[in-house]
């Protein structure tokens, strides 16, 4: 995709400490009054023309949230967030309903263009050669043909465009902003919303339930293999705006979908809050593959600014033989608090978690997964690669648990950490609970420092210090990169090199 190539080219030119997404788009926007109250929630719900039950659902969550306290168990530190000092809703003006991309504010389209997001529907030529910079297929064999990607773009609080709608409709796939789904498919939303992450789940998820303003909704009908990758790009643009998206994906019996998520934000001195919730439901024989490349603004080299990313992501393998796979590449955010998890409820269901978490500068990452084995003969696999550079702290926190009735549960976990420099930290906190004697859990963990001798070997062959680090790190994370869809893998590979720039002296 030309847009992707363009992104790569632009990425190549970036300097250390110059976050490439750090531009702000000047557009008029409509905001809810600052602060959080029942009125704010009523305002949001009214703006979205939501059904009455939805407002009640939100208010209930809000009342619950008031009784909760912010969790402090993660290995992250940050000044107290003043929840009354945030805007909870910001929508680009004009608010009139848009029927096609042509009616969207050109400034917003330009923003997405700058981000390299292919909003325009482009017929992709068959058999076009990939650029040489494409992800290595080791011996340079032709890579897989390019795939179509349908994109839903969320700007601050609202979804601005969803592409390929018609083609998806033909397949029976529903892919639209969740605010729209609430109006067009209220029964479907009501049936599944909050069934994986209940409104009472945790502080940030409960807050999200009260104030979420948009996000994506996906429904794949029984037996349907979604004909293209679905993708959402999130961008926080407004100052002091929290972004609270809600994503709900349902794969009905025998369905398959691959979903990609990308995130950016402008560069700002103050911290911005991002508290999203993602719920996945896989029914019998269904499979959901969810990939994230998270590149929120991480703050500057002194640790000022950056996104606070408190995200709850959970998948429910509700049906027998279902499968949910999480793949994440986390390079951004000042603070990451995120544990994409799988509830293996259906018999023979399986869950996977592949993660690359890179921290540099003053970033703090506390991320991992939970694999909850409930059904019989369930299996899970966790491959986590943490890379800490600069003065960052990088923690893997994971739980693997087998219920009493989860006979035959199996898990394999491998957590590898790589340290670059001597001022950073890597931590591994695995929790393992087996209440069934037939459960087999394996756990491997390594921590290593990037070897000076290996770097010298690369440099002796002509690579610069930074190219050498990029190469070694890309090798370190290869097992996970391979899990990403091709288009994302290319970008992720470049992102990894960029986020480590300036990490070695």
């Amino acid at each position: 995709m030309a847009a992707v190539q363009e992104t790569i080219d632009r990425v190549k030119d970036i300097d250390v400490d110059q976050y490439r997404y750090g531009f702000e788009t000047v557009i008029e926007s409509e905001k809810a009054p600052k602060g959080l109250s029942e009125d704010t929630i009523r305002f949001i719900s009214a703006k979205k023309n939501e059904p009455a039950w939805m407002l009640e659902w939100r208010l209930e969550a809000y009342r619950r949230w008031l009784t909760m306290t912010e969790p402090t168990w993660a290995r992250v530190g940050y000044p107290k967030i003043d929840y009354q000092d945030l805007y909870y809703y910001s929508a680009p003006k004009p608010k009139k309903k848009v029927a096609s991309l042509d009616e969207i504010d050109p400034e917003i389209l330009k923003t997405y263009e700058k981000l390299g997001i292919p909003l325009r529907e482009v017929e992709i030529l068959e058999g076009v050669e990939r650029p040489a910079a494409a992800v290595e297929t080791e011996d340079g064999e032709a890579a897989a043909p390019r795939t179509k990607i349908a994109v839903d773009a969320v700007f601050d609080s609202v979804s601005v465009a969803t592409t390929f709608k018609e083609e998806l409709k033909k397949a029976g796939v529903i892919f639209m902003p969740i605010s729209e789904a609430l109006r067009e498919h209220p029964d479907l939303v009501q049936k599944y919303l909050g069934t994986v992450v209940p409104t009472t789940d945790n502080y940030f998820a409960t807050l999200n339930s009260a104030v979420f303003s948009d996000g994506s909704f996906v429904y794949i009908p029984p037996g349907v293999r979604c004909p293209m990758e679905l993708s959402t790009y999130f961008r926080i643009n407004e100052r002091n705006t929290g972004q609270f998206e809600r994503t709900l994906i349902i794969a009905d019996k025998g369905a398959y979908v691959s979903y990609l998520e990308g995130c950016t934000a402008p560069q700002r001195d103050e911290n911005q809050l991002h508290a999203a919730v993602v719920e996945l439901v896989a029914l019998d024989d269904a499979e959901i593959k969810y990939s994230t490349v998270q590149n929120w603004y991480p703050g500057n080299s002194e640790g000022v600014g950056g996104i606070y990313n408190f995200v709850t992501k959970r998948g429910d393998c509700r049906g027998a033989n279902s499968k949910i796979s999480w793949t994440q590449v986390e390079t951004g955010s000042a603070i990451t608090w995120k544990y994409p998890s799988c509830i293996l409820r259906g018999d023979n269901s399986s869950g996977e978690f592949y993660s690359i978490a890179i921290s540099n500068g003053f970033q703090q990452v506390d991320s991992g997964t939970k694999m909850i084995h409930l059904g019989k003969n369930t299996s899970s696999r966790i491959i986590s690669k943490g890379i800490a550079a600069g003065k960052s702290q990088n923690t893997y926190r994971g739980l693997v648990s087998a219920h009493r009735k989860a006979s035959g549960a199996r898990n394999f976990t491998a957590c590898d950490s790589l340290l670059i420099g001597d001022k950073c930290g890597a931590h591994t906190v695995p929790y393992i609970e087996a209440k069934n004697s037939s459960a087999v859990f394996e756990h491997e963990a390594t921590t290593s420092k990037i070897s000076e001798d290996v770097l010298f070997y690369c440099i002796q062959r002509g690579l610069s210090q930074e190219e050498a680090v990029g190469l070694v790190v890309n090798g370190f994370v290869k097992d996970v990169l391979q899990q990403l869809p091709m288009e994302f893998a290319v970008e992720a590979q470049k992102l990894i090199s960029i986020s480590l720039e300036g990490s070695v002296g």
């Binding site: 040489a132 290595e136 080791e138 011996d139 340079g140 070897s451 000076e452 001798d453 290996v454 010298f456 070997y457 690369c458 440099i459 002796q460 062959r461 002509g462 690579l463 610069s464 210090q465 190219e467 190469l471 070694v472 890309n474 090798g475 370190f476 994370v477 290869k478 097992d479």
Partner: protein, 253 residues
């Protein structure tokens, strides 16, 4: 005519103060192969690292010129782009990075540094495969992560492959014979001999005469206690095989 490599009065020590190279003079002209022989701990490997620019060594005196340019003023990657190639005694492993990926990264990094155009992937692959064939390297080895799980022979053939691809002007071979059986030694030596040219110079570092039966040097130096104590022709190597290094160690001390 300028010499390819000119080392004058070189003194070098390991960070921490241990003196390793103590007054080395050596001139290598284009087209020449020099063998450096000597006992363990004489500073032979240090010489190769100092030439390649490995961090951790301090040059306390002396000058080194490559084609008349001040080599010591260049960073290690600049030296590589200028044509200095070190075949490592113990090549390093890089998990997850396919050998071919590494070759491409190195080849194009050097081209870029010299202001040349990068070679397209298909052209590069073709070139690599041609060289690989002459070294009995099969396509599968090119896909495997660099040096990971390679046998001693595979590692050294891989070093030779890199050297043949990068076409350096100065090759420094550090104990290339270590870890090789006689068949592997012949393959590697053939690969090195194929690179002999009037434009290229080589320094072959070894303990043993054996390697020099296959890579025949023009000049042989005996290196002891950080400097050259004797210089001769190819016969010197055979003489050393018979007499050993003991006399030079006492001489140097």
């Amino acid at each position: 005519m300028t010499a390819l490599l000119e080392i004058k009065g070189l003194h070098a020590e390991i960070a921490g103060g241990r003196k390793i190279i103590q007054g080395l003079d050596l001139t290598v002209n284009k087209g020449e192969i020099h063998a450096i022989m000597g006992p363990n701990g004489a500073g032979k490997s240090t010489l190769s690292y100092v030439l390649a620019g490995k961090p951790g060594y301090e040059i306390t005196a002396g000058e080194v010129y490559l084609n008349g340019e001040d080599l010591l003023a260049m960073s290690a990657d600049e030296r590589a782009a200028k044509g200095v190639f070190l075949a490592f005694q113990y090549p390093l492993e890089i998990p997850g990075v396919a050998t071919l990926t590494f070759l491409r990264a190195a080849f194009n990094a050097q081209r870029k540094a010299r202001g040349e155009e990068e070679l397209s992937s298909p052209d590069l692959i073709k070139r690599v495969r041609e060289i690989a064939k002459t070294l009995n390297i099969d396509a599968d080895m090119l896909k495997r992560p660099l040096n990971v799980g390679f046998s001693g022979g595979e590692k050294k053939r891989n070093e030779t492959l890199q050297m043949a691809l990068l076409q350096p002007s100065l090759c420094v071979l550090d104990e290339t014979d270590s870890g090789l059986d006689i068949d592997a030694l012949k393959v590697v030596a053939n690969g090195v001999n194929a690179l002999r040219s009037a434009e290229r110079g080589m320094i072959v570092i070894t303990h043993y005469q054996r390697l020099l039966d296959y890579i025949v040097p023009d000049i042989v130096h005996v290196f002891a206690a950080g400097r050259i104590v004797r210089t001769g022709g190819a016969d010197l190597a055979r003489e050393l095989e018979a007499t050993g290094y003991a006399q030079y160690q006492s001489e140097a001390a």
